[in-house]
């Protein structure tokens, strides 16, 4: 049996995610997720490490909406303190998924600390996230995601994956367009106004 492929996990996730807002980490996971579920409800992170924090902000701001973070081992290792902050804030609507391939995949495939034994699920638990588990197969992964999306507790799901990348198209939009499309998507699906402009001074 070969290693679990991240793209297979993402395809399974796309069948379960519904209209959840998805924040995905800097790296190939974003391109693969865009291929699996193209949506204006996807937000691509460019700062390595910041995925978990941006997802926490989205989750705190929209507590009734399901939010999924798609993180990587290199990214999370750079922002381990975010696990303690997540545990402290306990957003019930957030599912934090980490694809752990044990390398800095986009940076020359150098080994990360998880390749030397660091256990991200153990770290998440020790930080205070009680629902933290490893998924050992696509089926286990899908079951864990389904439970988390149907439940009401902050959940951390780790899955060890291979280092292969799927053949997927480039990300179709730049950062500023991603921001506006995401905001407009939230406005439309939540029936709220986020961005508004003032009348020119001559109207006052």
């Amino acid at each position: 049996m070969g290693a679990i492929q991240r793209f297979d996990c993402l395809k399974a996730l796309s069948r379960l995610a519904g209209d959840a807002l998805v924040v995905s980490s800097a790296g190939a996971v974003t391109l693969e997720w865009n291929a699996a579920r193209s949506s204006d409800g996807n937000f691509r992170v460019r700062t390595l490490g910041l995925c978990s924090s941006i997802a926490l902000g989205v989750a705190l701001g929209l507590p009734e909406r399901k939010i999924i973070a798609l993180d990587g081992d290199g990214s999370l290792l750079m922002n381990l303190s975010s696990l303690a902050t997540l545990a402290r804030m306990k957003p019930k609507n957030l599912v934090h998924i980490v694809f752990d391939n044990e390398v800095y995949e986009a940076s020359g495939k150098k080994k990360t600390a998880t390749g030397a034994g660091a256990d991200l699920v153990g770290l998440a638990r020790a930080a205070g996230i009680q629902n933290a588990l490893w998924a050992g197969s696509i089926e286990e992964f899908a079951q864990a995601v389904e439970r988390a999306l149907n439940g009401a507790a902050l959940t951390f799901i780790g899955v060890k994956v291979g280092t292969e990348r799927a053949a997927v198209p480039p990300y179709p939009i730049d950062e500023v367009e991603n921001k506006y499309r995401f905001i407009r998507y939230v406005e439309k699906t939540e029936q709220m106004v986020i961005l508004s402009a003032n009348l020119p001074a001559s109207y006052e």
């Binding site: 807002l21 924090s53 941006i54 926490l56 705190l60 303190s81 986020i194």
Partner: protein, 173 residues
Amino acid sequence: MNSTEAAQSIVAGLRDAGINLVATLPDINLAELLRAVEEERDFIHVPLCREEEGIGICAGAYLVGKKCAAIMQNGGFFNSNNAIVSTLLQYQIPLLLMIYFAGDVGDRTFGSTGSMTEPVLQALGIRYYIMRDSEDAPELIRRAQVLTEDCRRPVALLLTKEVLGRRAALRSL
């Protein structure tokens, strides 16, 4: 104003500016302000472990309609620089940065941090205002929030001991 009144004045300014999510990391000079932030029921308060997290949290909350402020020391502002550049500036996301000005003139701690604060803000193209008057604080906060929203870039307010009610103001500063 004493430090408790000064803290209440700043929190009133944040509230009037429409701020409803505040991410913080303590400094002894921010103690009264953070206590007042914690007690303000209109705020979602997010205590941070490291300031850069706060930039991400505030950026995420902005995307779904929150108005955010991040309160930290200038050392924490330095900790946050990658996120400020590659998230806030790259995506054109506004944020009110409330930065305690350690190493300000006459402040015995962190002189080098104080020396580099304004040059780094200038290098990043972040407009900033040094707050020294507690009575002006609410109006300056409201104006800074208008500026950050309109230019879709972070704006910094440097919190001095004077505006925090921890030493007397000088007329020439």
